[in-house]
């Protein structure tokens, strides 16, 4: 048992080393990229072309194959950022700082994509591009929270201070997001409840939700892939004065000049 704890501690503290992360994440990002490359085309083509039509909404329902993954990812990305923020504040890990910074633009893009696809779907279905409904509004506020974190990170010159400040804001935001969600729901609700619930069987037939599940998996893999690529880049930039980064740069330089 104590061995297990020691092992876990060791494994956990490895994450504090940017070099360890840089060396390992190459393989991880490759695998995630491969999964995304498999899942995304299969799921999207299956969903957009072969899945049966909805008996009420016709073909317009097919946008859920983009909308739902984007919305799910935009929310979990914020959770990941808050978790990274907590790690950054408590254990002062450099890698967590990098993850927090690099996840923000990706999350904001997915949040925007979710809002945009929602609007495109809303026009034929609800007859309007935008309604001030609870879930739409809380997604919009989530986008604002992303913008706030990106702006704060960009405004502070010192990297470490910027990371700590963004971490604190992410944590405050995650507590607030629960209150915002509840308050907005109390205020106005039109949107349908969530499609997937962990505890219940989905109401859709399998031919409809299977491609959706594949796209969701693919989107997560793509998110991980792009997060790792960005983080690796950021780590090289931040650690550019260390010996190991110089060695990498010199060896690639030598290779490219051959």
């Amino acid at each position: 048992m104590s061995n297990l704890i020691v092992g876990f501690k060791r494994w956990f503290h490895q994450w504090g080393s940017p070099r360890w992360f840089y060396e390992r994440s190459w393989i991880w990002s490759k695998w995630l990229g491969l999964i995304a490359l498999l899942c995304l085309p299969v799921g999207i083509v299956w969903g957009l072309v072969f899945a049966p039509e909805d008996y009420q909404q016709g073909n317009s329902f097919r946008i859920i194959y983009l909308h739902v993954p984007a919305a799910v990812l935009a929310q979990s990305c914020y959770m990941i950022m808050a978790a990274a923020g907590l790690v950054s504040l408590v254990w002062k890990m450099k890698v967590a700082d990098v993850i927090l910074k690099c996840a923000a633009p990706i999350g904001a893009s997915f949040c925007f994509l979710a809002l945009f696809t929602g609007a495109v779907w809303g026009k034929p279905t609800w007859g309007t591009w935008w309604v001030w409904d609870a879930r739409l509004t809380s997604m919009l506020i989530l986008l604002f929270l992303y913008f706030g974190i990106i702006a704060l990170e960009a405004a502070i010159q010192d990297k470490i201070t910027a990371a700590r400040a963004a971490a604190l804001l992410a944590i405050v935001g995650v507590i607030n997001i629960v209150i915002i969600k509840k308050s907005v729901e109390w205020w106005n609700t039109l949107h349908q409840p969530a499609t997937f619930k962990l505890t219940e069987k989905p109401a859709m037939p399998a031919e409809m939700w299977m491609p959706l599940l594949i796209v969701v998996i693919g989107t997560y893999a793509y998110f991980g892939y792009s997060l790792f690529l960005r983080s690796r880049n950021e780590i090289l930039l931040r650690e550019r004065r260390t010996l190991w980064v110089r060695e990498i740069v010199q060896s690639t330089h030598a290779r490219s000049s051959l």
């Binding site: 604002f144 706030g148 702006a151 704060l152 405004a155 470490i160 201070t161 209150i179």
Partner: protein, 248 residues
């Protein structure tokens, strides 16, 4: 101006930090800070008046810009007053720690051997007394100008009384995080406005409920819950924010 900033609270606590001759205790330090901030605010009265004038002007813009129709104004009044109060709070929020940061008093505050979150709470309380309370006192006049039903006035006032401290408390986190930045003001609004949304929703929702003849106890209780939650959590976050901002 330097003369102004010397106040009993700071000098006492600073002395205790260096010589351990006398320790004034947590409550005394907090009261000292409140008294000092109130005194400073009172000596620069113009700075106090500006957000209030802004509040009145923003409210004047609505009838001019949207519609002077009595029925429209009566239904929009609570929302307009709430939004204007929110913006006026935001406008003065940047000054919460700014002057102390620039003359170095903030670093002294961090060095006081008392829990920082309580000192921050004292600062926020003083800030609310000089910015939030005047807004509340001014709002009945503006509510009447916007043709709000007089019956709803107590509900509006109570919602502002419970809501404006929450605005100050949440705002303190943003002010703490942006105090070291040169152009912190706009960034501060960007960080804080999304966090203000629940307060706005419950604040105007309470008045709407009263206008529709529904019971207001539920949403009033929610406002109270928000206030208590903000009171126990935000001082810690603001104190952490100050430490982050001062660290570099």
């Amino acid at each position: 101006m330097l003369e102004d900033r010397k106040s009993p609270g700071i000098s006492q606590t600073a002395r205790s930090a260096t010589a351990h001759i006398e320790n004034p205790g947590v409550l005394a330090s907090m009261l000292g800070i409140i008294r000092r901030d109130l005194l400073l605010a009172f000596r620069r009265r113009q700075d106090l008046a500006n957000p209030l004038v802004f509040f009145v002007i923003v409210i004047t813009l609505f009838p001019l810009g949207v519609s002077p129709e009595k029925s429209f104004l009566a239904s929009a009044a609570a929302g307009v007053i709430w939004v204007a109060a929110l913006l006026a709070t935001l406008l003065s929020l940047d000054s919460l720690f700014r002057a102390d940061y620039e003359d170095g008093a903030l670093e002294q505050l961090l060095l006081i051997p008392q829990p920082l979150f309580l000192l921050v709470l004292g600062k926020v309380l003083a800030y609310w007394l000089v910015t939030g309370v005047p807004l509340i006192l001014l709002s009945p006049l503006l509510a009447i100008m916007l043709h709000l039903d007089v019956q709803l006035l107590p509900v509006l006032l109570l919602s502002l009384l419970l809501g404006t401290p929450v605005l100050s408390l949440i705002g303190a986190i943003g002010a703490a995080l942006t105090v070291g930045l040169r152009f912190g003001g706009v960034l501060l609004s960007l960080l804080i406005l999304p966090l203000y949304i629940p307060v706005l929703i419950f604040g105007t929702g309470t008045v709407q409920a009263a206008a529709n003849g529904m019971p207001v106890q539920g949403s009033m209780a929610m406002m109270g819950a928000l206030l208590l939650f903000a009171l126990v959590t935000t001082p810690f976050a603001a104190a952490a924010g100050l430490r982050i901002s001062i660290a570099n």
